[in-house]
Each structure stands twice: as C-alpha cells, then as structure tokens.
C-alpha cells in the first residue's frame, strides 16, 4: 500500500466519518479531575500504607497476645448497575488475590496449634470480608463516582497488603524454624 493511495483513502474516510466536537464542559471536568487526583494521590498513598501495616499489626498482636478481636458484621456486596460494574471488577480482582493469599496462609499455618490457627483464620476471613462493608459505606456517600472507585480500590488494596504481610511473616517464621 503506497503512501499516496493511503492518504487519499484516509481523507475520504475522515470526511465520511467525521468527529463531533467534544461534549461540552470536557475541559472543566478534566481540570476538576486533575485537582482531585493531586489531592487524593498524596493523601491516600500514606493512608493505604498506614492502614495496611496497621491492620496487619493488630492481627499479629491479637493473635499472639490473645486480645479478642472486634467482630464486624459481614454484608454481601450486591452490585448491579453503572458504577457498580467497575466496582464489581475491582472487587473481583482483589478478592481473587485475597483468596490466593488466604490459601498460602492456611498452608503455612497448618503446623500451628489448632486454636491459634482457628483464631488466625477467623481474622483472615474478616480481612477478606471487611472491604465489602467499607465499600458499601463509600458507595452511599455523596461523592462523585471516580472518587468512590478510587477510595474503594484503596480499601481493597490495603486489605490485600495486610494479607500479604501476614503471609510474609508466616513464611519467614517457617523458614527460621526449618533452619533450626
């Protein structure tokens, strides 16, 4: 296909399939999203790390010090339309990773005392279910959809990091005890 022919065809196609103007208010919406992104990326980067370490640390403390953990109500996140399709995809992605982490943790904890393992797995289950109820709360807030998606993603990500942290701690403990 030579260039000359392509150019003529391109012009014809462009003429036949014209592009309408951008929807009105595009530039303003972009400026708004840019400002939001700047604010939230700074705030939630630290929030994400902080909460991941915080949750994981509280589980480890609860497990080894024997402090009873606070039970939370688990709710089923029913997602059906609009923004919820995106959130369902986010949830699906993180849930899948959380379940693999749970499998690893279960495998690594099988040599634990049964009651300790039961306690650990109860905490792990709670970690995988908690984000759903937080997501429901965020969904009900009066903020725009992009923000909701961003916050909900941060929540799932933070909980996944907690599970990864527990997994890593157990793996390190196992390696240390295997060496001994």
């Amino acid at each position: 296909m030579n260039k000359k022919d392509n150019t003529a065809l391109k012009q014809l196609m462009e003429q036949a399939w014209p592009v309408p103007p951008q929807p009105s208010g595009s530039r303003e919406r972009f400026a708004q999203r840019l400002a939001q992104k700047r604010q939230t990326s700074r705030k939630y980067w630290w929030w994400g790390i902080g909460s991941a370490v915080g949750i994981a640390a509280s589980i480890i403390i609860a497990l080894f010090v024997g402090q009873p953990s606070v039970g939370t109500q688990t709710e089923e996140l029913t997602l059906t339309e609009g923004i919820n399709t995106t959130i369902a995809e986010v949830r699906g992605y993180y849930k899948a990773q959380m379940w693999s982490e749970t499998e690893y943790i279960l495998e690594l904890s099988k040599d634990m005392k049964p009651e300790m393992q039961a306690k650990l797995m109860a905490e792990v289950t709670q970690l995988t279910e908690n984000p759903d109820s937080v997501a429901l709360t965020i969904l009900s807030e009066d903020i725009d959809d992009d923000r909701k998606i961003y916050y909900i993603t941060s929540v799932y990500m933070a909980h996944l990091r907690s599970l990864q942290y527990i997994h890593q701690m157990l793996a390190e403990n196992k390696m240390a005890s295997d060496k001994q």
């Binding site: 022919d5 392509n6 309408p20 929807p23």
Partner: protein
C-alpha cells in the same frame, strides 16, 4: 512554537495547573478524534482522553520534550484504552487460521472514488461491525502498520492482514450495494 511546548512541559513537570491545561488543549482534540473513530461514542471517547492525559500528567516521567513524540505516545495510549473499552463491549479480535490475500488498494480506492458519495460511505461505515470498523480505522486513519495493529490487538500479523482484507471487502460491498 517549540519553545512554547517546552514551557508547557516544564510547567507540567512542576505540576502547574495552567501548563497542565495548556497540555490538555494541545493534545485532547487529536486524542478525542482517535478514540471517537474507534468507539463511536462521545462520552466514552472523552473518558479515554481524560484517563490518558491524567495518567501522563500525574506520572511526569511519561512526559516527552518532543511534541511529535509525545503525540505518538499519547495517541497509542488512547488507542489501547479505546480497544479495552471495545473489549468490554465484547468485541473480540481472534486469530484467523485462513489467510486472505490483501485487497489491493486500487480496488478499494476505485470503488469509493468512482462514486465519491460521502453520505453513502458514511452509511457503509456505520453499518460495519465494531470489529471491522476498528481494524480499518487503525490501518487507514491512524496509519498503523500491520505489526503495530498486531501488538495492540494481541493477534498475529497474518490474522491482522486477513481481517483487514475481509473488512475492506465488506466495506466495498456495503458501499456499492447499500
């Protein structure tokens, strides 16, 4: 012009809002055109443009000090994202085992220029499947090579050639006999 562009990039690296909006003004129309031609939906095309520009402006390592190179990068990102949107609509490009000979340019051009009926060509393009229209737009309007299209769609170059050839044949058929 080049000096203006460098100022814009410098401002974007320092996260100055004025420069970031100038960057938007500079690139958004071209990206919107690329996204719209593939998606045929103005809101989805706007979403693609904004996602691409937000990504680049919040990760300043992606900024390029050459305007042409920046446009190429942004356009490629917009095309990839538009293809993702099409995939969400269940538009799938599969590997083809049979290989069709590439339609000669003369035949497709002759068929169209002979009549040169833009309204009829519009109807023909509108009647094509999203899959056929997408591959034609990538090849003819975005001027991507077979290899580039193959990378974007994740199928072999031979499949791209076959599907492109089939898409051209369908377009000619719709154009002539509508």
């Amino acid at each position: 012009m080049e000096a203006d562009y460098r100022d814009i990039i410098l401002g974007c690296r320092k996260e100055r809002q004025g420069a970031q909006l100038a960057f938007y003004d500079l690139f958004a129309p071209a990206l919107y055109a690329s996204a719209f031609r593939l998606l045929n939906n103005d809101w989805e095309a706007e979403e693609v443009v904004q996602e691409v520009l937000l990504k680049v402006l919040t990760d300043t390592s992606l900024l390029n000090s050459e305007a042409d190179a920046m446009l190429r990068i942004l356009r490629r990102m917009a095309i990839n994202l538009s293809i993702d949107h099409l995939r969400r609509r269940k538009v799938v490009w599969e590997e083809w085992s049979d290989s069709l000979a590439e339609q000669s340019v003369e035949s497709i051009e002759q068929a169209m220029i002979r009549q040169e009926d833009v309204a009829q060509l519009y109807s023909a393009i509108a009647m094509m499947s999203e899959k056929d229209r997408g591959i034609l737009m990538l090849s003819i309007v975005e001027e991507l090579t077979t290899e580039e299209i193959s990378q974007i769609l994740g199928i072999r170059p031979s499949s791209v050639r076959s599907q492109l050839s089939r898409a051209k044949q369908r377009l000619i058929k719709l154009y002539r006999y509508e």
